[in-house]
């Protein structure tokens, strides 16, 4: 169970004359041994005598009578009365209240308590993510909440994970949930214009240490109040507020290192093996396709090798004309250049945080400052961030309360090209292009090698110095909340927020760089300013009638405007390589424009409960958005929900084993807007200037009647607790039918365009979510707890308007790496392509299942098959959705020592290997490096039971087809994080005037068990793995201290 986020009134110190002794101690939570700050400690019977525990759960009471009784209380936990009995140290372990369902959770436009909230919401508290070295909170949430799928997009420093709530509810509009920070819906996602190099997620501007809690709103009842933006769930982030009491200073420092990747990632075969493959490739071509003798084939293969690599200091011979006698000679024989060690390093992550918080009756404050630096594994990848926060609350008189939250952050990121780019993706280069036979210096001249290598890679050690890229992001996010208590039970709350994110991108190529040579150097600077203004006002009313009828109502409106100003200036023909600015350029080119959107909403909600037993709620919101045309821009969104606290019923008194039981259900409608601001408008663009005159043209064919995507969600859940809440859990079923889904649909190119945005169909997501938490052992200061989350989501295309199938490609990387089909009754991630039938045992040729009625060449496993892929028909090959996914967490605690393990798992479904065609080619791209997997499992006359075909140096296209050859089982489990912490004992700390201190070790991604071992199984939301930087094993050491 979790601890509370709000404070209680503290009780001031009163010097009681009769006191005899001073009592100190630490209050911890029984479930995980973590300290509980702000526990109220009172001396029983002495009115006004008492204190609060500090941030480390420590308290100190002077002048306590030796026979006094101390009362420890904290919301969500059982109040304990403990006699002092003359002791001076009393440590208390707080036990969760059997019915601790009154935990406060932050929900849409207000707060609720866990036991009374009628929607589906899950909460992650700061403690649960505090030890994970992460730039942004998403990375630390994996496996902690059922229904939440966290996918890692890249292992680069500065990249963040993406969150999907309950499957895929949208085809091509965003599946991003809505993020709400301190009551304000905010922008999310990438904010740079740098495309392939640095994708800076704006969520990185929030220091995770400033976060008090994260609530995930999953069903319509929870999220419908956010209307048209909430269909993909809502992530509500609440930042810390100061607590009543003396100033608390917290300091935290951590250093993490990442010496290696978490798993194998297309590990290359050795240089000798590459040479062997190369020889074999041409030898086979000569023998099989040109009728050569062994000698002729060998001569041809050796000629290839010598032509390619003589210039790098190697010669090749094969006296018996077969691969058996192939030897590598030459000046550099026996030495191979280790590109990997030059391009990758041990990543170092450092984070330092300091925060000061405190409060009085009238005001409270929380301030923080942090610095984070992350040197990524790639030698050109670095991330740097400074954040500052000031949250200030002030009461004015009895009726008005003002809260001001200001977050300022600046970050810079120097990136790495994550796409399948031969020229500058170093991960790809190290695995696919940079032979050990290539050297950064030319053996003939001793000068740097500057020409393109035969594999089309450039010498990165030379060119790294000839270009640079970075993005700097600065964000000022200020929120002012005014709460006016108009009448008892009636509040007016207004929020005004100003969110300004500015990004400056810089991309420079010197005149020596291959990208800058024809322009004699080039430099591009982009400036992007995103301004979001939002105002919302809500009137809240709460009243209890007749002691049992609790009523609350909310009504209000919200207006938001988002505007982005973009400016680019490019200079080419640069004066000097010393200066990398547009100012020095001989030729200038510029661009500037702006875009934006606006939204107007009115919203309302009513809640009722009878005697805290029966609950009902309803909400309604009407949204108007500029992203849709005048005829379709207004939408109505609503929800109804109810819950029943079965445990409050009299008949449950006879079932003591059940300590809590609640049933809740909801139904509602919410929506999704198109991602694009102007998707409904047909547009003429003026980007085609000609002969230095303006030039324009039609740039799309739009559907003016484009409308919202609407989701109809029903949700039913049973929450339970047994054995005095030792075992708690919930089981939840949801069904989300989404209609009018938006998709960039491929259209006949004869129209002039390849695709257009349309409402095309309907999707259904339904599933089961299961959460279980148990206190296994709780005795003698030893605690052991474990939690399990499991989710099953079935995501199906239910209807396509017009009944036509839609073939679409994964957008990641921009190279159409995975092909999918939307067809009624099939998965939303149905992988589409030709069905590979493996390799013919006697010839090593590719085989394909026909899947049509044409004349087969042969039969494989009793099914008609062909040698020629063009004869095979494309079919649905599998599903990229897992059958089951979730996490497993366990924590052990003993006397200040804590050990926590967090596993994630995924079962069922397929991953699609988008890089396999590069590292496991059939012979055409002969001067590329092949993986060890390709080397070991290819067909040769001595390995006829091979997985992959024989390599022949002819331009076969089999490997380039979207096919089942590149699909692999997705099952894996991973120790996402392991944390070992030790809180120093109070006795030690008091000597150095510390109120709390803790040291910890965190290991991230240390262990992985995967069904397919060639690449990291933690793939993106489309289930594909390409040339993104893989994630690493990170070892972090940290200390925390409070004064």
């Amino acid at each position: 169970m979790k601890k509370l986020i709000f404070i209680f009134l503290s009780v001031l110190f009163v010097n009681a004359g009769m006191a005899q002794t001073r009592v100190t101690g630490t209050v911890t939570a029984s479930e995980d041994g973590s300290p509980i700050p702000y526990t109220v400690v009172l001396v029983k019977g002495s009115r006004g005598v008492g204190t609060n525990t500090d941030a480390e759960g420590k308290y100190s009471l002077s002048n306590v009578a030796s026979d006094a009784v101390l009362v420890f209380s904290y919301v969500g936990y059982k109040t304990q009365e403990i006699p002092v009995s003359g002791r001076s140290v009393i440590n208390v372990e707080m036990v969760t209240d059997a019915l601790a369902l009154d935990e406060v959770i932050v929900v849409a436009y207000g707060t609720s308590t866990k036991g009374t909230f009628t929607g589906a919401a899950s909460v992650v508290k700061a403690d649960a993510i505090r030890d994970v070295p992460t730039l942004s909170f998403e990375n630390a949430m994996g496996g902690k909440i059922a229904g939440l799928q966290i996918t890692t997009l890249s292992g680069q420093a500065g990249s963040t994970s993406s969150i999907r709530v309950r499957g895929i509810g949208s085809m091509n509009a965003s599946n991003e949930p809505l993020y709400v920070i301190d009551g304000v819906p905010v922008i999310s996602g990438n904010v740079t214009q740098m495309g392939i190099y640095t994708s800076s997620n704006v969520m990185n501007t929030i220091n995770p240490n400033d976060i008090e809690s994260i609530t995930v709103l999953k069903d319509a009842a929870a999220s419908a109040l956010y209307g048209s933006r909430a269909a993909n769930g809502v992530i509500v982030i609440t930042t810390r507020q100061g607590k009543l009491g003396k100033p608390v200073i917290n300091f935290k420092a951590s250093v993490g290192i990442t010496p290696s990747f978490a798993t194998d990632n297309y590990e290359a075969a050795s240089t000798e093996q590459q040479v062997e493959l190369y020889y074999e490739n041409f030898w086979n071509a000569g023998k099989l396709y040109e009728g050569m003798t062994d000698e002729e084939a060998s001569t041809s293969a050796l000629a290839q090798l010598n032509k390619r690599f003589n210039k790098h200091g190697y010669t090749f011979s094969a006296p018996d004309h077969t691969v058996n006698s192939l030897t590598i000679g030459g000046e550099r024989a026996g030495q191979y250049f280790d590109w990997e060690s030059e391009l990758f390093r041990t990543a170092v992550y450092q984070a330092y945080d300091i925060s000061v918080s405190g409060g009085t009756e009238a005001s409270n404050y929380y301030t923080s400052f942090s610095y984070t630096n992350d040197l990524g594994r790639s030698v050109i990848n670095e991330y740097d961030r400074i954040t500052g926060r000031m949250n200030f609350g002030q009461k004015i008189g009895r009726f008005i309360e003002l809260n001001t939250n200001i977050n300022v952050s600046t970050s810079s990121q120097e990136g790495f090209n994550d796409t399948r780019a031969l020229g500058n993706n170093y991960f790809l280069q190290s695995r696919n292009l940079l032979w050990g036979l290539y050297w950064p210096t030319d053996i003939a001249t001793g000068l740097p090698w500057t020409a393109r290598f035969g594999s089309y890679a450039y010498n990165p050690l030379y060119y790294n110095n000839e270009w640079e890229n970075w993005s700097k992001t600065q964000r000022v996010f200020a929120t002012e909340t005014v709460t006016i208590k108009i009448l008892p039970g009636l509040n007016l709350r207004s929020i005004f927020s100003f969110d300004n994110t500015q990004t400056f991108d810089h991309l420079y190529y010197s005149a020596l760089h291959f990208n800058g040579s024809s322009l004699i150097g080039s430099v591009t600077e982009n400036s992007t300013k995103i301004n979001e203004l939002l105002s919302s006002s809500t009137l809240n009313y709460n009243k209890t009638f007749g002691g049992v009828h609790n009523v609350s109502a909310l009504a209000g409106w919200e207006v938001g405007k988002n505007n982005t100003d973009y400016m680019r200036s490019t200079g080419t023909n640069l004066a000097t390589s010393e200066l990398h600015t547009v100012a020095t350029a001989g030729k200038l080119d510029a661009n500037a424009y702006f875009w934006g959107n606006a939204m107007v909403s009115m919203l309302s909600r009513a809640e009722y409960n009878y005697n805290n037993r029966y609950y009902a709620s309803a909400s309604f919101r009407r949204d108007g958005s500029s992203k849709l045309g005048p005829d379709s821009r207004w939408g109505n969104f609503w929800s109804v929900a109810g819950s029943w606290r079965i445990d409050q019923e009299g008949f449950m008194d006879n079932v003591p084993v059940i300590s809590s039981l609640r049933l809740r259900a909801s139904y509602g409608v919410n929506g999704t807007l198109p991602t694009s601001n102007y998707g409904w408008r047909s547009l003429t663009s003026y980007s085609s200037k000609y002969m230095e005159q303006p030039g324009g043209g039609v740039s799309n064919i739009a559907d003016p009647n484009l409308s919202w995507e609407t989701s109809y969600t029903s949700n039913i859940a049973l929450e339970f607790g047994v054995l005095e809440q030792r075992l708690t859990g919930s089981i939840e079923y949801f069904n989300r039918a989404s209609k009018n889904l938006l998709q960039d649909v491929p259209i006949s190119n004869v129209t002039g365009f390849g695709s257009t945005l349309r409402n095309v169909g309907e999707i259904n997501n339904r599933g089961l979510e299961f959460e279980l938490f148990g206190e296994i052992i709780k005795s003698g200061g030893f605690t052991w707890t474990a939690g399990l989350t499991a989710s099953h989501v079935k995501s199906t295309v239910t209807k396509l308007y017009g009944g036509k199938n839609i073939i679409w490609y994964e957008p990641t990387g921009g190279d159409d790496r995975t092909k999918f089909i939307y067809t009624e009754g099939e998965s939303t991630l149905a992988i589409y392509g030709r069905e590979w039938a493996g390799v013919e045992r006697e010839t090593g040729l590719n085989l394909w299942f026909l899947n049509n009625d044409s004349e087969p060449d042969l039969s494989v496993d009793g099914r008609p098959a062909t040698y020629d892929y063009t004869n095979a028909t494309e079919v649905i090959l599998g599903d990229a959705h897992p059958k089951l996914f979730g996490g497993f967490n366990t924590d052990l605690g003993w006397k200040g020592i804590s050990l926590g393990l967090n596993f994630i798992y995924k079962l069922g479904g397929y991953t699609y290997d988008a890089a396999g065609k590069d590292v496991n080619d059939d012979g055409y791209y002969w001067e590329r490096i092949m993986s060890l997997d390709a080397y070991e499992n290819r067909w040769t006359p001595t390995n006829k039971d091979a997985i992959y075909p024989q390599r022949v140096a002819i331009d076969m296209e089999d490997v380039n087809q979207k096919s089942s050859r590149h699909m692999h089982p997705a099952d894996f489990t991973r120790l996402k994080s392991i944390t070992l912490g030790y809180s120093l004992p109070q006795t030690l700390l008091s000597k150095v005037k510390l109120s709390g201190a803790r040291v910890y070790f965190n290991g991230a991604n240390l262990w992985t068990l995967a069904a397919w071992k060639v690449y990291d199984p933690e793939v993106n939301e489309y289930g594909s793995r390409g040339w993104e930087m893989p994630i690493g094993k990170t070892y972090t050491f940290g200390i925390e201290a409070s004064f």
Binding site: G286, A303, W595
Partner: protein, 490 residues
């Protein structure tokens, strides 16, 4: 409470009605296509856009030119995998190497032309036409004719081989996004091309100086001459070509000026030249010029394509041929002059406007009209051999050591060979070879060390199904109506 609710509701309703304006957020860099062509100035902007789009990499900016030479036997490659070598090796299928870029780009451009034609027609129908607007309409129609001519040769069988077979979808109006057009016959496409050309001609400017970088009356006639030649309409072809030749607007480069013409824009031979300016359609290291430079000559030059032995042999008939002046040695030896400098502005590599890569593409030159006229004259129902020899000699004299043709010696081979020499790397060769039903031989031995080419034989002719491109898988997927009209063999 009740009062407050009423107030809120009223306030809310007021908000809702007054905020339509607030919600009408317009883009700052796009206009509404329905209203973007209202005046001649607007139409000029759209014509600019159309010309720019014709310089795209997937069209005249690079690939269409490479296509016309890589497949015609005049180009050779030294190594596979450098880029676009699937043109050379004919490694085409619907799902890989489909060459769909042509289809997509040209239809995108046709949309722009259609939009111009339809928009101007609307203005004219409203009685607000002008000579200038008609000129722009004429330019759009001429461009459309040229684009359909290119498309039908990429995707359809030669007119003189099977004009009843599938050509390409014929689109003359703006289509809805739901459209699934199907293929018209080769003949229907040619008919439309000729109609567009003849409809457009009266509107077009005959002022050469004022139309640099655009289509004018003479370009229209030159295209017509080309089209008729492809239809074996030799009389019509000769008439159109001679109208250009006899106009006196254009003149052939002298032997001393010929090499220098490659470092100048809009020379005296340029009937239609597409302009490529820096930071417009400049493909930098991926430009046509770079594709033809010797491997490693400058950073980024990979030696994609160079002359075949056959072309070098043909040129070697006269070592003093002035056209050697635009050639340079290739990577294979210190003496083999296989690398063309036409698109980098000659050996100084300063282009035609001080940029190595932003170099104009000369789509139609006067020299071609001479050779078109020569061929048409020779192949008239009653051949005019004197004329044929005379026209040929105007170009043939660029090889001063060769004996001029005369009415007894002139042959079609001489004319075709002359075209090969003159228009190396200008994208004409392949289409001529296919039109004339010649056998194309590829210089595969030049690939060093040798590799096996499996997607075609060393020699091909137009009976080989891959001489035309497949409709791409993407088009078949998005447009099932066309699926049954795939080119045979694919």
């Amino acid at each position: 409470m009740k009062k407050i609710t009423i107030i809120l509701t009223v306030l809310g309703l007021m908000l809702m009605t007054s905020c339509e304006e607030f919600l009408d957020v317009k883009p700052s860099n796009y206009a509404n296509p329905e209203t973007s062509i209202k005046t001649a100035t607007d139409a000029k902007v759209a014509i600019n856009g159309l010309m720019r789009k014709m310089t795209a990499a997937d069209y005249y900016g690079r690939n269409f030119i490479i296509y016309g030479d890589a497949k015609g036997g005049d180009f050779a490659i030294r190594s596979q995998g450098r880029g676009l070598d699937y043109y050379y090796s004919f490694n085409h299928s619907a799902s890989s190497g489909s060459g769909a870029g042509f289809w997509n780009q040209i239809y995108h451009n046709i949309l722009q032309a259609n939009n111009l034609i339809v928009s101007i027609q609307k203005i004219e129908d409203a009685g607000n036409g002008s000579a200038l607007l008609s000129d722009y309409k004429g330019q759009a129609m001429t461009a459309r004719a040229l684009m359909y001519f290119d498309l039908v040769r990429l995707y359809g069988k030669p007119y003189n081989m099977n004009k009843e077979s599938y050509g390409v979808p014929l689109v003359l109006e703006l289509l809805e996004f739901t459209a699934q057009p199907t293929r018209a016959s080769v003949e229907a496409v040619y008919t439309q091309i000729l109609k567009d050309l003849s409809d457009a001609a009266p509107f077009l400017s005959k002022d050469k100086a004022a139309t640099k970088g655009y289509l004018n009356y003479w370009a229209n006639k030159a295209i017509e001459a080309r089209v008729h030649l492809f239809m074996d309409n030799f009389t019509a072809s000769l008439t159109a070509a001679e109208e250009v030749l006899n106009s006196g607007k254009y003149s052939l480069y002298s032997n001393t000026d010929w090499v220098g013409s490659w470092s100048t824009q809009f020379g005296s031979e340029s009937i239609f030249e597409l302009a490529i300016f820096p930071s417009e359609a400049d493909l930098t290291t991926g430009s046509l010029g770079y594709y033809l430079l010797r491997n490693g000559k400058v950073t980024g030059a990979m030696g994609w394509f160079m002359a075949s032995d056959y072309w070098i042999d043909r040129m070697s008939q006269d070592p003093t041929d002035i056209r050697w002046g635009i050639m340079e040695r290739d990577e294979s030896s210190t003496t083999r002059m296989g690398s063309s400098l036409k698109y980098v502005g000659g050996s100084a590599m300063t282009g035609d406007k001080a940029s190595r890569s932003a170099v104009n593409v000369k789509v139609i030159r006067l020299s071609e009209m001479y050779l078109v006229a020569a061929e048409a004259a020779l192949r008239l129902p009653t051949p005019d051999r004197v004329k044929a020899a005379d026209y040929l000699n105007q170009i043939r004299k660029r090889a001063p050591a060769l004996t001029p043709a005369d009415e007894t010696t002139v042959t079609l081979d001489m004319i075709i060979d002359e075209k090969s020499k003159e228009f190396f790397a200008e994208g004409l060769r392949y289409f001529d070879m296919i039109r004339l039903n010649r056998t194309i031989e590829f210089n595969d031995e030049f690939i060093s060390p040798a590799v096996v080419i499996t997607h075609r034989t060393k020699t091909i002719d137009r009976t080989f199904f891959k001489t035309i491109l497949p409709i791409s898988q993407n088009e078949l997927d998005a447009n099932p109506a066309i699926a049954s009209q795939q080119n045979p063999g694919y």
